[in-house]
Symmetry: D3
Subunit: 181 residues, 6 copies
């Protein structure tokens, strides 16, 4: 009787086709944490492929280069062929649409995260409604872990094992050891 919303039916050029669903997981990943690993792994169960979109902000000096971050992410997932890592440029929503993604994947740790993420998701859907934003609630045990806090703690000599994957921990120790001899 009442017509369904038109976007529940057709799909444009592969978007939303069974077996081809792609999600984009954006972030700085400077460095990858166990929180990121959990979100990406959950994305690989929910979707057919995941592209990790590494933002490369020329104004901020990262701890690890884009190439280092890419290598660490690939290693942490044992080069899973369903996972790609790319540098994000331009508008995230357009970038995701151009790759045929059905979803932008974001982890949510706390209510404060949610409000910022909601604003971004609504803007992204305004720009390209065919790309949805999907929020995954963080695992309770890692809700306090963020890249910036991990870097701050590690730089001051705190033990961050368990908060980042083992390969990232090794890289972090090498990098910070160089800086703080």
């Amino acid at each position: 009787m009442s017509a369904p919303p038109s976007d529940s039916r057709q799909s444009v050029s592969g978007l939303g086709e069974p077996g081809q669903r792609l999600a984009v997981c954006p972030g700085s990943f400077d460095p990858l944490t166990v929180g990121h690993v959990a979100i990406i792994a959950r994305g690989l169960r929910l979707f057919d492929r995941v592209i990790v979109a590494v933002s490369v902000n020329i104004r901020k000096q990262p701890l690890f280069s884009f190439e280092e971050r890419t290598t660490m992410i690939r290693e942490a997932f044992d080069n899973d062929p369903r996972l790609q890592v790319e540098a994000l440029s331009g508008l995230l929503a357009t970038w995701a649409r151009d790759r045929g993604a059905v979803a932008i994947l974001r982890g949510l740790r706390a209510a404060a995260d949610f409000e910022y993420e909601l604003q971004m998701a609504q803007m992204n859907r305004h720009l390209h409604p065919e790309v949805d934003t999907v929020f995954l609630p963080s695992d309770p045990g890692v809700s306090y872990v963020s890249s910036s806090l991990v870097k701050e703690v590690a730089a001051l000599g705190g033990d961050v094992r368990g908060l980042v994957p083992p390969n990232v921990h090794a890289a972090l120790m090498g990098r910070l050891g160089t800086r703080t001899p």
Copy 2:
């Protein structure tokens, strides 16, 4: 180098297989609103099939029977074969796992929603980690629409056209007209 989390690889009996991904969308749907319609429609783009799990709480007297709610949901989606409607019984996480769902789908309207939903999602993942919870941010234009507020407004004579699908609006007018002559 570092081993990936084991759950990113194998899948148990069809869970997470391409082309077979199923999401469960739980709620009371008493009645279906335009907010619900948007979430279900988005679920049908992200997943291969969606089961709407209608909770039937014997302690609460609903406005519409389970059969009426089922009919209204099916009508609103023009009997889309990828959409099923079932009565939820027992634990949601177990119910979803038993149907082979990869995800429980929930709309998020506001930060206050988020905190309650996060608690439920973390409990559900504790019970059955193979069923994830996926949050979709509400469309900004309908963030204030809920079934209970719609019923309250309609019962007091307010105009709720546009807040529910047309078939639900007709049913609501019929039901409330009977009650408040």
Copy 3:
């Protein structure tokens, strides 16, 4: 050049006319607290007249009757002729519109209040856009005072002087003394 929003110009039958602006301040006021007094007093500076809309919920057994609450509010404002007290019936937005109000006035004490109040305000504006909702932030010293908490504390023998106006305090002591001899 660009046309202004049409509702910034004309006004319908006295709504928004200088010297005639009316605000409605809804609530249960069971009983009036110092927080309510502050909000109503501020409303009387911002608008020409204020109607206190006392909700009379037949399902809830109030501590004070509508007549008692009305008397206490009038007394607390020394029968200020710019303040009226009426029983609210039906939809608040329609009720306010019918009285020619330009605004519904609500105090905001905390972020949790805000989310519920935002939902109600957006629904009310959906129903009758000509009646706005205006939020006034609570005074910091009384942000923890609510009618229900005051009643609970007073019923258990706690001292609530200073949390309600003197006439309400006297009435509260009389009423609770009757109940808990």
Copy 4:
């Protein structure tokens, strides 16, 4: 019986007089968005006059000069004589008091906004209790629109029509076209 709060009665030199009520609406307006337009338009219905107080922060390099912003605001309201645009200097509360304003007008989009705004409102009332702060809840459809997000999206080539008034859109395209050829 109980004396009313003294500030509900007298008013100092025109503050709060019928027909003369003035509200100040502060912000950067770099640039004006449809969210700002809605708040100012609602202010013009609630009060007799509105002064838009454009903050001119010498530390931040704006996209548009104070003069450009002023022109865009006046144009968007078709030079409504009840609307003035001025540069804000010094303390907002003192500035508003000196102009005889009864209220500072702020739009609230989300709970996160609210906490910051509540702090500022309580400080402003501490400084000058005769100037109140009035919050207007944002329209649900534009709750994700902010000047900074609009600039960021437009600079990356995203379509922001509908998020700003037409005259601002034209100016934005001209300005960013100059910058990103």
Copy 5:
């Protein structure tokens, strides 16, 4: 030079004396969860003695009697002599003051908890400023665990081992087995 706040100096009849500091930890504990255990254990490190104040609400039908709850709490702490369990009656703040407590101890799991707890804490300090309220942030791994959710999950057959102490788990299985044969 400037005088310190007077309440930082003297203490009334043992309140705040070294070696005698007592905290009250209120709740329903129907039943005790691992979240409660963690908060009480942390209280025993921060204070010299802890009284668990079990609220006995005659309007709500608890799953376990006051005696059963008391036994389970004592058992979980191996009858630690520094821990007492008592039935709470009347106003919490007065009850705590009468026992010479310096603090009321509350776990905080989420921002939504915080707002309610802040209101109660400010009221309690208004009533008896000599009894402070101390919030302990929940351990991240158990932030989703509450007595009511544990009961709901267990009643529907979900596995709640690890969410309550072993003795409580045994009691819960016995009680719910009786009810749902």
Copy 6:
């Protein structure tokens, strides 16, 4: 029956011993506000000694030197021998552990504070579980007072008496008078 959590029993080298309990109260205190004074005073009632840990961030140019801030804090507490003031260096959790503290003391003013503070507290407990974090809810009347807002208001000529202790007010006037002749 069930074993209690091991950390509720033994204590390591004086941590948690009656009569020796020490809390660390960290912050910038640039300058000390009445909100800080209240939290420190309450800490002195709950614990045997308090160390104020003044963070000295070399990237931020403070208004007052570490020595000036130290003097102002000591003066405000009349050189109470149970209060020490030290410069914080390195990781707060390690610094507190090294001094034998049982607790890190933080004031909470609003829900937005809470989320950031919860993240820091959970990280600090991950690093050194033997040092707890204790939150004290702010007094309602000063919930809007922060050092940065006080400085901003004072620099623009606003009256901040009552928001800082008298000795800090004098120092603030002297310092800002020098800057803004």
